[in-house]
């Protein structure tokens, strides 16, 4: 896990470098005696300026998160990373660690809250995983597996969010946008392009692109952009790579998200499959269960 926090250092031009500049590879403070806090009873060392989640990740402890990506300035909006620090709820991706702090994360109370937040994200958009190319590589889905979300629980909003398929190489399916702003931050802070922005307010908040026509094809977007590879869910998708890796054998089918090094960019750049798209693919949803593998055509 150590390497996960270190590439924060290399992303020049991204804010908060002061906060992160004091990290070394091990997430241990450079000054003599490392300051520590406890996370669910486990002692976590940290260096000055580190946030709770940075220190936890460096120590190999998973705290659920969606809008946080170690490469970017924290946003603090999804609230999945909520923990209780000294008894008070706070976002671990923005809260700086302090010596002697007592932090709770993996408790029933907090996981129940996280589950409700996930359910909100699911009903707010239109998430039909079986027909989503991101399925199995999706952080929202994987986090929901991790937290044991069995149903969306709330009533669905079923919003109307048209697709944008204008770009020759990329597709935008806004139905799945969770407004984490990672693409906004990547395009603005890394690509220097401002292709994406948030508009609207409240439940009407939505993603827009930088074009008078409102179409991705008319922006400066390119597949080489950082912004093309940061979406934690299935909004910004490369065309013509559908089902290259069969559902059932994708990142989070193999390993739960809690055991996966930070998945953001890697999961988003799947190699195109030589045989091309397989629209409704064969699948195994019991990959980890040898006695009764079910491989079925849907």
């Amino acid at each position: 896990m150590n390497k996960d926090v270190t590439f924060a250092l290399s992303s020049a031009g991204v804010g908060e470098s002061v906060a992160r500049g004091q990290l070394d590879r091990g997430g241990v403070a450079m000054n003599n005696k490392p300051a520590t806090f406890t996370l669910d009873g486990k002692t976590i060392p940290f260096s000055a300026g580190q946030t709770l989640i940075q220190a936890a990740m460096a120590a190999g402890v998973y705290i659920p998160h969606l809008c946080y990506n170690p490469e970017f300035k924290p946003h603090g909006s999804c609230k999945l990373c909520t923990v209780k620090a000294d008894g008070r709820h706070t976002s671990s991706c923005t809260h700086q660690a302090q010596d002697g702090m007592v932090v709770e994360s993996d408790t029933k109370e907090i996981n129940d809250e996280r589950r409700a937040l996930l359910q909100m994200l699911f009903v707010e958009g239109n998430h039909f995983c079986p027909s989503c190319e991101k399925s199995g590589n999706c952080q929202l889905q994987a986090t929901a597996y991790e937290i044991g979300m069995m149903s969306p629980h709330f009533d669905h909003f079923f919003p109307d969010r048209p697709l944008d398929a204008s770009h020759p190489d990329y597709l935008l399916d806004f139905n799945r946008c969770i407004l984490c702003s990672l693409c906004v931050r990547a395009s603005r802070d890394v690509d220097g392009k401002n292709v994406f922005a948030l508009s609207g307010r409240g439940i009407k908040s939505h993603l827009i692109v930088n074009a008078k026509s409102g179409r991705l094809a008319d922006t400066g977007f390119s597949g080489e952009d950082k912004a093309a590879h940061v979406c934690p869910v299935g909004v910004i998708l490369k065309k013509r790579v559908g089902f290259a890796v069969p559902i059932g054998s994708r990142s989070f089918d193999e390993q739960p998200i809690s055991a996966t090094p930070h998945p953001g960019p890697a999961a988003a750049t799947l190699p195109p499959h030589p045989q091309g798209a397989c629209p409704v693919g064969p699948r195994s949803n019991a990959a980890t269960l040898p006695p009764h593998p079910t491989v079925k055509d849907v």
């Binding site: 603090g76 609230k79 937040l117 709330f154 009533d155 508009s199 930088n210």
Partner: protein, 623 residues
């Protein structure tokens, strides 16, 4: 249109012609014509984007897509940013929204005075549906959050200018004026005669402070000493949070930075609050003087007054006061002849976003951004406007500071209670004979205020607005004070005839409408909560829904990013705790029933097939 008389046709046609010429005027150079003066007024400063957009919108009543091209080029801002900012504020429009834009204030007090009927009446007179633009593009009618005229409601805004005391006659007259296309500037002045309604004066409202006198006292006493007086006075913020004003100024003064800033929070968006409106109308000098004192103390040379868009009609008056103060050397350079005392104030307008009253969202808005609350810490005192040390205080806080500078901290601290010093201005509205402003020393009981304002048969008082507390009759002996009932000033009275469930539902709708959408719990949770309250209102609630509401409440309180989300559930929690029967009445169903009307869900199919047999219908609940 075939059966219209020629005269009427002609009238319609001429109307069309004008609208069309408006809509069609689009080449970039025509936009440059009206945009360039706006841009130069703002020195092409991208931080002033919101101000530029507000001014730009005046031209067509919306921000034309081609105008964004020009602004983008001139301000060197991406189009996505300009659209993102415009999309955030209720009063900014990217599409044509009518030449006349009518917004009915929709606070619970407006509702109690019959605003919905009046809106319906205006809609039917003008053939327009609420929330839509009329077919000929002439007008749109919609609701908006509390406009701060609860003491003289129902109220509306027409092209962002307030009209009070709506009656059926007034609404008919307005409909006629719109139909006849009379420019708003030519409407009868009495429509716009906003009253102060000051009912009880104490040290502040009765101070008759001579402009400059507090500044003179400051210069005489010394900067350090004046801060000491503010500390001694134990003045705490009047905007709601109640932070020590002296401490805030001290922190800001001590914070390193290239520039320090002083910001007066006149966003006054909390439903039921309107005291800042009156202070700015009648006591603006005191407010500006307080800001100037603060500037001297923290070392700022620039200040902002962030004026909510709903109070735009106060802008000219406030500009005039500022100008007068400059002439009197109370503002600008060399204030009162001191070469090292330079400070000026700029007024920034809001554009229909309650969240911009939250200080960090306000600063974002001042910087021309979407009004999203920042992650805190760092706090504005160290990292505020342009990341520089910034004091943000409420209007009433600054006015009180002027008094303290003049009369001393001990004098002020002696007023009120042991823990809450000085006076507090209450904005009283709702079921009472004399709504308006009441200034009391801290410690006054709710019962006293009710007696003074002529409230009878009172069931409850909502203190401090939608995000405040609901006080039931058995608590009327409690005190207005930081350690008992703290308040930003709202005091809405409800008599026994009122349905407290409907009060809470109105507030929940308010929060859903005003949620900035940044964080998951509040963005989605306030809408879920508002849907659940609607479900209860329609009689489809069961104990299941009730439990759901309580769970949502807890989630919003614990995981929301800012105060809006934290307090969005307060009205529900309070009314459940204190007015349970109002809810029990709604739990008509023993078992869970759906939130949507199943029979209605078949109506499209019925219409398309022409069927109406029993099989073509569904009961909402399973008998």
């Amino acid at each position: 249109m075939g059966v219209e008389s020629p005269a009427r046709q002609k009238k319609r046609f001429s109307r069309f012609a004008t609208i069309e010429s408006l809509l069609m005027a689009s080449p970039t150079d025509t936009h440059a014509e009206y945009l360039d003066p706006i841009l130069s007024r703002h020195q092409h400063n991208a931080n002033d984007l919101l101000q530029i957009l507000i001014a730009a919108q005046d031209h067509y009543g919306y921000i034309h897509s081609d105008a964004i091209d020009h602004l983008s080029e001139q301000l060197k801002l991406p189009r996505s940013k300009i659209e993102g900012v415009s999309g955030f504020y209720s009063f900014l429009h990217l599409q044509a929204n009518g030449e006349y834009r009518v917004l009915f204030s929709d606070n619970i007090t407006d509702r109690m005075l019959g605003n919905m009927d009046l809106m319906q009446s205006m809609c039917s007179q003008l053939w327009v549906e609420p929330g839509k633009v009329s077919e000929d593009g002439l007008l749109s009618i919609n609701t908006t959050s509390c406009t701060g005229l609860c003491d003289q409601g129902p109220a509306l805004l027409v092209n962002n200018i307030a009209i009070n005391r709506l009656t059926r006659e007034r609404v008919n007259a307005i409909a006629e004026l719109i139909r006849e296309r009379v420019p708003v500037s030519a409407w009868p002045a009495m429509f716009f005669a906003i009253e102060d309604n000051i009912r009880r004066k104490d040290i502040l409202l009765d101070s008759h402070l001579k402009p400059g006198s507090a500044l003179a006292a400051l210069l005489q006493r010394g900067t350090h000493e004046t801060l000491h007086e503010i500390r001694t006075s134990a003045l705490r913020g009047r905007g709601g949070a109640g932070f020590s004003t002296g401490l805030k100024w001290e922190f800001c003064r001590d914070a390193p930075g290239e520039q320090h800033y002083v910001v007066c929070n006149a966003d006054e968006g909390e439903p039921g609050t309107f005291k800042d409106r009156v202070l700015l109308n009648g006591y603006a000098d005191m407010v500006f003087e307080g800001m100037t004192l603060c500037a001297r103390i923290v070392g700022a040379s620039k200040g902002f007054l962030y004026l909510r868009g709903e109070y735009r009609y106060l802008l000219e008056h406030l500009q005039a006061v500022l100008q007068h103060r400059r002439q009197q050397k109370l503002l600008g350079s060399n204030i009162l002849g001191h070469a090292d005392f330079n400070f000026d104030i700029e007024i920034h307008l809001g554009a229909g976003a309650y969240i911009c009253g939250e200080e960090s969202a306000l600063i974002e808005s001042l910087e021309g951004k979407r009004g999203t609350p920042r992650n805190r810490p760092p706090f504005p005192v160290t990292h505020g406007y342009l990341n520089q040390p910034t004091v943000v205080n409420n209007v009433e806080t600054f006015a009180s500071a002027s008094l303290i500078a003049l009369h001393g901290g001990a004098w002020y601290a002696a007023i009120g209670t042991d823990t809450s010093h000085g006076t507090k201005i209450l904005s009283v509205s709702g079921d009472c004979e004399r709504p308006g402003l009441y200034e009391y020393p801290f410690g006054v009981t709710v019962a006293q205020v009710l007696a003074d304002c002529g409230a009878q048969d009172t069931q409850a008082v909502q203190v401090s607005g939608a995000s405040g507390v609901c006080i039931a009759a058995d608590e009327f002996e409690r005190h207005i004070a930081f350690d008992d009932i703290p308040t930003a000033g709202a005091f809405m009275v409800f008599d026994q005839s009122r349905d407290m469930f409907e009060v809470a539902r109105n507030f929940v709708h308010f929060f859903a409408h005003e949620s900035c959408g940044f964080c998951t719990p509040c963005r989605v949770g306030t809408s879920l909560l508002s849907n659940m309250m609607d479900k209860l209102a329609e009689g489809h609630g069961s104990p299941y829904d009730f439990a759901e509401i309580e769970k949502l409440n807890a989630l919003l309180q614990s995981t929301s990013h800012c105060g809006l989300g934290h307090s969005a559930c307060n009205p529900v929690l309070d009314t459940i705790a204190k007015f349970r029967p109002a809810y029990d009445k709604r739990l008509a169903q023993k078992d869970f029933v759906p939130a949507f009307d199943l029979d209605h869900a078949l109506s499209q199919a019925r219409q398309m097939t022409g069927r109406d047999d029993t099989g073509a219908h569904l009961e909402r609940s399973h008998e």
